[in-house]
């Protein structure tokens, strides 16, 4: 599978960009040239130079270092929220698909309601309700994202639950729990990998959007979105403040999109129209 991903040019670019973001996130203290929180008023708003490749912000903090730490926040929010969506969505999708009937109806109507809200609206409303912080953003994003996962898992379960191997387990007296987690779940793994990798880009985008609106990471945390909005006041004199973090977001999202496409083509081409919305 890895060979299949690397053999495509797009997959390779995606892998490279994705790893770049991941490495910056994980090794932020080692990679970043300066302390992202260190205030140095003497160097306030200095333009990009050799010592500060992306310049400094109004407090003299190094923009490149803040971007490296921003990758950490983005990845944290994106990975954790996607895992939460996967957990909730998979569980409910398995249950809905396997048991069918009223339970299925209830779960899927809840999914319909979740998906009936346009784009970021539900997320904005949830964030306003629970108050802006990174933890609540992770939970909110995770909860809002369950419906799409549940739909796909349910569809997969419906397509395999009448297959011989499942019927065989059942006729041998296999318990529902055993069928669900030992037999149906493993058959959803390739879908789950695709959903997860495609969702990472959406997660990064959602985190930066919410932080841009002031509903995500709070200062002085260096989130890409909040860096862009903080730079708006100095757009005329110090455009790098807002422009640099945007390039970071674009590359990260691009990387995960390409990677997600490559995973999808390798694992499950049927999921072609996934990855829209937001």
């Amino acid at each position: 599978m890895i060979r299949q991903i690397v053999s495509q040019k797009n997959g390779l670019i995606g892998l490279f960009l994705g790893l770049l973001v991941l490495v910056s996130a994980v090794f932020a203290p080692l990679v970043s040239p300066y302390d992202p929180y260190k205030i140095n008023m003497a160097e306030s708003l200095s333009p990009p130079s050799l010592s500060h490749p992306l310049g400094t912000d109004v407090f003299g903090r190094d923009v490149l270092s803040r971007m490296v730490y921003g990758a950490r926040i983005s990845m944290e929010v994106s990975v954790l929220s996607r895992l939460l969506s996967l957990l909730v969505g998979t569980l409910l999708g398995l249950i809905a698909g396997y048991f069918g009937g009223r339970l299925d109806n209830l779960v899927m109507r809840c999914a319909d309601v979740t998906l009936a809200y346009p784009g970021l609206l539900l997320l904005i409303a949830v964030m306003a309700a629970v108050g802006p912080s990174l933890t609540s953003l992770i939970v909110a994003l995770g909860v809002v994202g369950w419906a799409g996962v549940a739909r796909i898992v349910r569809a997969q379960v419906l397509s395999i639950k009448e297959r011989e191997f499942v019927l065989a387990v059942r006729s041998l007296g296999g318990q529902s729990g055993r069928i669900l987690f030992r037999h149906l779940l493993p058959n959803c793994v390739s879908q789950l990998i695709v959903i997860f990798s495609m969702g990472l880009g959406m997660g990064v985008m959602a985190e930066s959007s919410m932080s841009f609106l002031g509903l995500g990471a709070q200062p002085p945390l260096p989130s890409w979105g909040s860096m862009i909005s903080a730079g708006l006041d100095y757009l005329r004199v110090a455009p790098w403040l807002s422009l640099a973090p945007g390039i970071g977001i674009t590359l990260a999202v691009l990387g995960f999109n390409l990677l997600g496409d490559a995973f999808r083509d390798a694992l499950d081409p049927k999921l072609k129209h996934l990855g829209r919305r937001e």
Binding site: D112, Y117, P118, L121, I124, F212, I228, L235, P239
Partner: protein, 311 residues
């Protein structure tokens, strides 16, 4: 078709009810006392008690919920705590601005997206195809709000050819930057869908038949292939139009566009509960209605859909 329409319409009602319920409880758990934020510093106990009674805030939650649903049925979302205007009035006042912007953005995305997609499919595996498809995937990955900032920087601050923000009393020039920003992701996506759909259609037998008959390449592309390739494009365009109409929160905030999206964000930041409830519900309603229309249109254009039924 009639049975299908009725079925879809009937399914719409419980969905609407669900959305209303979720919206109510989301806003209900908002922190802070709405009455205190309304009266501000100068208040006396009597005024507060009276306001609480007027807004039914002294009642248990299920009674408040009942009032909310009863209000919805009459299209009455209550009165804003901040401006004192009725919510439905202010929502309807903002909607035309959002509508104009969404329409303009959709126009851009359909015209540019479809033409680029058709050309890319036709010039398959040429530099044009590679460059446009590369551009579109970057376009999809670019955050809307950052593109907006970039456009403001280049066109309003450096080149000084377009205004940076505001409605400008309906001046078209004020609409260009926000509309381009809003249209960006959709244009890129429409171009990609059009291309892949065209490529599928071009392989079909009836296209080969047309070619064998000696139909010109141009006519083959536009008269034979495009018509059939547009089906999946309609879904994308419809869904995007629905979400633009329901208020482009990010774009409207950056460009200080007086539409629904910015209005709702303001209400959320001010904890103006009736306005949040009304606006969020209205936006979800518009979004759902457009999606319903798109589904019905799709079934009407492609009769196979009805037979498959619900997935």
């Amino acid at each position: 078709m009639f049975a299908y329409t009725v079925k879809r319409l009937l399914l719409f009602i419980p969905l609407l009810f669900g959305v209303a319920t979720v919206t109510f409880f989301l806003v209900y758990v908002l922190p802070g006392d709405p009455v205190l934020s309304m009266v501000g510093e100068r208040y006396d106990e009597e005024t507060i008690d009276q306001l609480r009674r007027e807004m039914h805030l002294d009642q248990p939650v299920y009674v408040q919920y009942g009032y909310f649903i009863a209000g919805l049925v009459r299209l009455d979302f209550g009165t804003s705590y901040v401006t004192g205007e009725t919510v439905s009035e202010s929502v309807l006042k903002r909607f035309p601005y959002t509508f104009r912007l969404a329409l303009f953005a959709m126009l851009i995305s359909v015209v540019i997206g479809v033409s680029v997609g058709v050309l890319a499919a036709w010039k398959w595996r040429t530099p044009f195809d590679y460059v446009t498809m590369g551009t579109t995937i970057v376009g999809i990955s670019m955050p809307v709000f950052w593109l907006g900032v970039l456009l403001i920087y280049v066109f309003a601050m450096k080149l000084r050819v377009l205004p940076a923000s505001g409605y400008g009393g309906g001046d078209l020039r004020h609409m260009i930057l926000p509309a381009v920003t809003l249209a960006q992701a959709s244009t890129a996506y429409v171009a990609r869908i059009t291309r892949s759909s065209m490529m599928d259609v071009i392989r079909e037998h009836y296209i080969q038949t047309a070619r064998a008959k000696g139909v010109s390449e141009h006519r083959m592309l536009f008269a034979h292939a495009l018509r059939n390739a547009l089906l999946p494009v309609i879904t994308v365009v419809g869904a995007d139009f629905g979400s633009y109409l329901s208020g482009a929160v990010l774009t409207e905030s950056i460009f200080a566009w007086p539409g629904l999206g910015r209005f709702t964000l303001d209400a959320i930041l001010k904890r103006d509960i009736p306005t949040i409830q009304g606006a969020v519900f209205f936006m979800a309603l518009v979004f759902m209605a457009i999606n319903l229309v798109v589904d019905l249109m799709y079934a009407w254009i492609d009769p196979r859909i009805k037979l498959v039924g619900r997935k």
